[in-house]
């Protein structure tokens, strides 16, 4: 006894929560230790006696006086009771006996009658603990509810958290099944306790409490069969809150208005017995007109929807309210303007249709649904003929007719007939458009229903099987075709939209599927209809070739795009259609003379062939059969095969066409390049289609095979693709087994693509030089090869021995010494194409010492005689070979000597050419560029052999022709399209830092003008700038100070020395300045005058020079040099435009006047882009005043 008293006292005196918990724990242990003997429990309960004395009813007046001692008592008493509650919380749930629990329930329950100030919080807590006790009996639950209800009005005076506790106590009790039946037993349907509850809780405002209160109300409605009067009272209790909103509070509770709305919505939808109250109430709220805001309206609509969806027994609870609901809702759509309300309304209408149809397990009779839809029909039918309301009426009808299978089967023919009649008597083109749009939507919705039928009730499947197809079958001839033929030849602007819809409609007709009696799915339309649609669309796409350039094509481009998409849909389902299209296109192209095509006809050709590629290859066709089976078997690759075969055939024809006229120039054979472009696009589209269907990861691992496809191709006839096309690929064993959902599609696509590449390579490399292969066509082909080869994985590249084909180009007569003879620069782009796609691992064979790669890389013969393009392609090949080198154990170069030799070779070459006096500048340039590219390839890989060249570079830059080296050294770090992951290049992450620190850094000392004579120093500066300008800012960030000094010097002395070295360092210097200004402007603060002076001078010089050059009309200025001059000005203007944004006005004031004048003049620069920059710069400088 004493110990409990002491603990109670300690508890009351303590303010530390942890200590209190500790004390309660000790008390609980003591009780548990005694196995809850009556004495101990009695002592424990009596331990709070000293504080309870004041809580007797007779003392209430004294307490209410509110003197200090009274308040102290209240707090102490609350704490004392808290001690009991905390002990109960710590106590084992099984230890108290039934009589003990009952007595405690009685004790704490009594507090709600006597002690509203101190007792409630602790008692609620204690009661919640007691409720969880093992020996808590249902009748005690009833007693608790009755006791707690006695608090009456004082409930409102409790703190919000206390009220929350009480709500939770109620909720726990009311949801307890045994308490529920006890209450039901005791009170029956009069539910007197509910009335008490409603009374005490009716003024709740706290959002957190409301959430629980609403839950209590839901539980009351759902689980207690209350009388109508009580139900009405409950309904009043929550409907008074509707529509609910939440004020923003200074102390956010984490509860949103949406939480409250949905909790309240649950109350409305709690049980069907609320239907007679809820529907009229909500309709009345909705019909208040403009007084209701959008969000309230949406809330009402969502609540109606929830009621419709959740009420059981729709015959009784929903159907009687449908008519009233519909007459309120229809205006929300018919005259509504706000999308949210319209959407929410349609949701309600859909919910009603689905409710009266039944569930996926149980269907109701059809009459309810039929009556509902007919109700909608009767009100909206008229509106369809009124162009103002067509869309809205259609929307309403569409929503109810297409929301489930039965609704569709029952009423779609009615709707279609309605639309059909109105289309016959349209009010305006836009009315026609709206009607066709609706018809299309019906078709689209039907497709979704058929597609998702597996998720519906089995009865739905039967309904679909029994569906009459006549209304759909006649649509094409009755509706769409007349609309199309009447307009297509000369559509007026407003009719283009109708045609777009009709094109979509065509596609939708072909895509319709019919479910056969055995569940088998077939295309609904007949072959004749499909074929007719296909030829209509084909006709409008191929006719672009015959139109003259005066025809207005701009207007048609949107329609053309729609037709393209429609035709794609058509041929993906009616698969024979694509061959028809391809044949037609081929015939149209062949009909024309392509020897000297005009710009317009080339454009028309591009459109046609690119569309041909897109339509057939941007999706994988689906294998749904027609009613009359096609003569050819289906293959997912059939369109790709058709496209490829058509393209190759066209290609052959146009080659012949060129060959028949020996004098044709390169430009005239451009047609081939366009056909090649279409082939390229087709391959890219098909790859995308595979990615879309099978996902990227699946494809990444799927080109695996150890077959030598190239060897297999050798045994195939030249017109293999043509043969495949005739049988849709079934003549080939591997292709025959491919099915639509199978990853094998991708592998076979790669195989076909490789065949195409080989075919075209052979066509180019074996035919006579008089064939009209233009450089463009060849580059186009190389791009295809790079993509196709690059898509194969390393193993497949090895098994197909593609590395050897890089130089052999698939020719059969392999000669081991193919590189020994004079090289054919004509086919080098093709070599580059294959090399770009190869994985380094697949190229190991090439890197034998003195093997193909080394021979190529160490060959500088004839460099001076190549055109710039040829030498750049050769340099690119060198770059790739040097980049993809792999040496060391288990490779062809176990000692890793190849690259060392290559670097030595070029080191020596550089030394020779830079000191040679009898070398032409073109040759010098070509050789150095070539060398730099090869070294760049090795550099990206951070090949250690490159470091051996550091001293060579230092030496050659200082020598006589070193300027060219200094200028070109930036190539080592220049971004290059070949060094990308698509080309499987080996690029180390920090290679630019590596180059900078190994090559550029040591040059800083040498670049000081005092050393090595000023010419050499300037070349070293040029080399540093060349490297740094191609590196990101972070690479040279640490050397900013010396770098800026070099730049300032370089810009200052730009005119004092021979032009070739000094002028060419201006551009990189300005590039770096722009970069530094963007990243670390402060470092330039001390050099502003020098920068502004040099910049203005450079602008003026370059402007002057530009004028001089363009004045010399006799000889057009060389593109490179003019470009350089323009570049200087562009950078200067960029630099000047950025200065005012980076520095405070006080730093710039001295230059304002001069620069504003200079920039004003620059606004008249001959180059448009520069004028724009100048305007921007001037605008920025106008603020510096």
């Amino acid at each position: 006894m004493e110990s409990f008293k002491t603990w109670a006292l300690q508890y009351v005196l303590s303010d530390d929560e942890a200590a209190q918990l500790d004390i309660a724990g000790q008390a609980a242990k003591e009780i548990e230790g005694s196995r809850a003997s009556s004495t101990v429990v009695g002592n424990w309960a009596a331990s709070v006696q000293p504080w309870m004395a004041t809580a007797q009813p007779g003392n209430d007046d004294q307490m209410d006086d509110g003197d200090d001692s009274g308040n102290g008592d209240i707090i102490a008493r609350a704490k004392a009771l808290g001690f009991l509650a905390a002990t109960l919380e710590a106590l084992d749930r099984n230890i108290l006996r039934t009589d003990q629990v009952a007595r405690l329930v009685g004790f704490f329950g009594a507090m709600f009658s006597y002690d509203h100030k101190a007792g409630i919080t602790a008692s609620t807590k204690a009661l919640r603990q007691l409720r969880a006790m093992k020996n808590f009996k249902p009748d005690m639950g009833v007693k608790v509810i009755e006791d707690v209800s006695k608090i009456k009005e004082d409930f409102r005076l409790q703190l919000a958290p206390t009220r929350l506790d009480i709500y939770e106590l109620f909720l726990g009790l009311l949801e307890d099944e045994s308490v529920r039946s006890e209450l039901q037993h005791k009170y029956g349907s009069s539910c007197g306790f509910v009335v008490d509850l409603l009374q005490i809780c009716q003024h709740e405002r706290d959002p957190k409490n409301l959430l629980v209160w609403f839950e209590i109300l839901v539980a009351l409605v759902r689980s207690y069969d209350a009388s109508t009067e009580v139900t009405e009272e409950i309904f009043k209790a929550f409907s008074a809150y509707f529509p609910i909103s939440l004020r923003t509070s200074a102390t956010p509770t984490g509860i949103t208005a949406e939480d409250l709305k949905s909790a309240l919505r649950n109350c409305f939808a709690a049980h069907g017995r609320l239907a007679t109250l809820a529907f009229p109430f909500l309709m009345q709220k909705l019909d208040q007109g403009d007084a209701v805001t959008v969000s309230v309206k949406v809330d009402i609509l969502k609540t109606i929807k929830a009621c419709v969806e959740q009420y059981e027994n729709p015959q009784v609870n929903v159907v009687p309210h449908i008519e009233k609901t519909w007459s309120s809702l229809k205006y929300e759509v018919r005259n509504g303007e706000v999308k949210e309300t319209i959407d929410a309304t349609l949701e309600v209408l859909r919910a009603i249709a689905n409710k009266v149809d039944g569930t996926s397990t149980q269907k109701f009779g059809a009459s309810m649904l039929k009556n509902y839809i007919e109700l909608v029909f009767s009100d909206t039918r008229e509106d369809l003929s009124n162009s103002t309301y067509t869309k809205q009426a259609g929307l309403l009808l569409m929503t109810v007719v297409t929301c489930n299978v039965r609704a569709y089967v029952l009423e779609s023919s009615n709707l279609i007939e309605c639309l059909r009649q109105n289309i016959r008597q349209p009010k305006s083109p836009s009315h026609t458009k709206d009607l066709v749009l609706l018809l299309n939507s019906v078709l689209r919705a039907r497709m979704d229903l058929v597609k998702n039928r597996a998720n519906f009730n089995p009865e739905d499947e039967k309904l679909l099987q029994a569906e009459s197809h006549t209304p759909l079958e006649t649509l094409f001839h009755d509706v769409y075709l007349p609309l199309w033929t009447k307009r297509i030849n000369d559509p007026r602007l407003e009719e283009v939209d109708v045609l777009k819809q009709v094109a979509q409609g065509f596609a939708l007709i072909v895509r319709q599927q019919a479910v056969g009696p055995d569940g088998q799915v077939l295309l609904l339309s007949s072959v004749t209809v499909c074929s007719e649609i296909c030829s209509l669309l084909t006709q409008s796409l191929t006719q672009c070739l015959s139109l003259s350039s005066n025809d207005n094509n701009v207007r048609d481009s949107a329609l053309g795009d729609e037709i393209v998409l429609a035709l794609r849909s058509v041929v993906m389902n009616y698969t024979d259609g694509y061959a028809e299209f391809a044949n037609k296109a081929r015939a149209e192209i062949r009909k024309r003379d392509w020897t000297v095509p005009s710009k317009h006809s080339l454009r028309a050709l591009t459109d046609l062939v690119m569309r041909l590629a897109f339509i057939g290859c941007s999706e994988i066709p689906s294998g749904v059969a027609l009613g009359t089976p096609s003569q050819k078997p289906f293959s997912p690759l059939q369109h790709f095969i058709t496209l490829a075969s058509t393209a190759l055939e066209l290609f052959d024809t146009s080659s012949l066409l060129g060959a028949a006229r020996p004098g044709v120039s390169v430009k005239e054979s451009q047609v081939n390049a366009y056909i090649m472009a279409a082939l390229h696009a087709a391959i890219l589209h098909f790859r995308d289609a595979c990615t879309e269907k099978y996902k990227q990861e699946a494809l990444a691992s799927y080109s695996k095979s150890d077959r030598d496809w190239v060897e297999e191709f050798r045994h195939m006839p030249r017109d293999w693709l043509r043969q495949l096309q005739e049988t849709n690929g079934k003549s080939d064993e591997a292709l025959a087994s491919v099915t639509e959902g199978n990853l094998e599609v991708y592998r076979q696509f790669l195989r076909l693509s490789l065949f195409i590449v080989r075919y075209l390579y052979l066509a180019d490399s074996t035919e006579e030089s008089s064939t009209p292969w233009s450089g463009q066509t060849r580059i186009q082909l190389a791009n295809i090869a790079a993509f196709v080869v690059g898509s194969l994985d390393e193993g497949l590249q090895k098994s197909c021995k593609l590395a050897s084909e890089a130089f052999n180009l698939f020719r059969v007569d392999k000669s081991p010494s193919m590189l020994s003879g004079p090289r054919d620069s004509r086919t080098e782009p093709l070599t580059l194409g294959i090399l770009r796609g190869l994985w380094p691992g697949a190229m190991i064979e090439m890197y034998k010492p003195d093997g193909v790669a080394q021979t190529f890389m160490c060959d500088s013969a004839g460099a001076g005689s190549l055109t710039s393009r040829e030498s750049q392609i050769r340099a690119s090949i060198g770059l790739i070979l040097a980049n993809k080198y792999k040496g060391g154990a288990s490779t062809s170069d176990p000692d890793g000597q190849v690259m060392g030799q290559v670097m030595d070779y070029w080191g020596k070459q550089l030394q020779v050419v830079t000191t040679s006096t009898n070398i032409s500048s073109t040759e010098l340039e070509a050789l150095i560029t070539h060398a730099m590219h090869i070294i760049a390839g090795a550099t990206a890989r951070q090949d250690k052999n490159v470091l051996g060249l550091v001293s060579v570079f230092q030496e050659v830059i200082a020598s006589q022709n070193g300027g060219t080296v200094a200028r070109s050294i930036g190539i080592l770090v220049q971004s290059n399209d070949l060094l990308t992951p698509e080309n499987h290049a080996v690029v180390r992450r920090f290679y630019k830092q590596w180059v900078y620190s190994n090559l550029a850094k040591p040059l800083y000392n040498l670049a000081l003008p005092t050393k090595n004579g000023s010419e050499a120093a300037i070349r070293y500066t040029a080399a540093i700038l060349s490297i740094a300008s191609n590196c990101p800012f972070t690479v040279y960030e640490d050397d900013l100070e010396p770098l800026i000094r070099l730049i300032i010097t370089a810009l200052a002395i730009r005119t004092s020395l021979s032009k070739d070295i000094t002028r060419l360092q201006v551009v990189p210097a300005l590039e770096i300045l722009v970069e530094v200004l963007a990243n670390n402007a402060d470092s330039l603060k001390g050099h502003l005058r020098a920068i502004v002076d040099s910049a203005t001078a450079i602008y003026k010089e370059s402007f002057h020079e530009h004028q001089e050059r363009t004045k010399q009309d006799s000889k057009p200025a060389s593109r490179a040099s003019v470009l350089h001059i323009v570049m200087c000005r562009k950078l200067v203007l960029q630099l000047l435009a950025a200065l005012p944004k980076k520095f405070e006005v006080r730093y710039l004031l001295p230059f304002g006047r001069v620069l504003r004048r200079t920039l004003w003049e620059a606004c008249g620069d001959p180059i448009r882009e520069l004028r724009e920059t100048a305007r921007l710069a001037r605008k920025n400088w106008l603020k510096i005043e």
Partner: protein
């Protein structure tokens, strides 16, 4: 400004695609769904997007479309249009181009396409209604914009199109008077209106 006070409360507005632009007149780019891979497949056929050097790299004809922006292109009517069509209307949330106040055919640059010591730019404006009280302000903004954007060797003349405004003579007189223009821009209120209008210009 209240809606009821607008001179023309319901002007005709052109959509962006209806405005004249350099790209639309060039018309070389394809835009349809089938043009997704044009950049890759047609790259080598248009030298401006290709990483490959073209055959005529050394001395090709620079007049070609593909050579892009880095070649000489004199200030033309389209450029003037681009400069002023983006000015906002003082009372509608639209630009002068969208309201068809500025029209490409009503801009003249003389002498056209030549480098000369003095070039004249003549802009005729068409107010949305012929009693537009803000015509002078619009004219002032156009004039100010062009004077800011064109070099000193350009003379700018902004007028109301003949018959487009009830008092076009008076408005034209004001706009032609350099001193009055300068004085108007000294006026803070007016200057703020003009600056506000020019905010939408690049």
């Amino acid at each position: 400004m209240q809606k009821s006070e607008l001179d023309n409360a319901n002007p005709t507005i052109l959509s962006v695609s209806q405005l004249p632009s350099r790209r639309a007149t060039g018309g070389t780019a394809r835009h349809g769904p089938d043009s997704k891979y044009d950049y890759a497949a047609l790259a080598s056929l248009s030298s401006d997007t290709s990483s490959w050097p073209s055959d005529d790299d050394i001395d090709g004809d620079h007049g070609d479309d593909h050579d892009g922006e880095m070649w000489e292109a004199p200030v033309d009517e389209q450029e003037i249009y681009d400069l002023i069509s983006t000015i906002s209307d003082p009372e509608h949330p639209n630009t002068l181009g969208e309201l068809n106040v500025v029209r490409l055919p009503d801009i003249r640059v003389t002498p056209a396409g030549q480098r000369s010591n003095l070039t004249t730019v003549l802009v005729d404006l068409t107010p949305t209604v012929n009693h537009c009280s803000l015509a002078t302000v619009i004219g002032l903004a156009v004039r100010w914009r062009l004077e800011q954007a064109l070099p000193p060797s350009y003379r700018v003349d902004v007028r109301m199109k003949d018959g487009s405004h009830a008092q076009d003579d008076q408005v034209n007189k004001q706009l032609r008077d350099k001193e009055r223009v300068a004085a108007a821009l000294e006026n803070d209120t007016l200057r703020n209106v003009v600056d506000k209008m020019l905010e939408t210009c690049a």
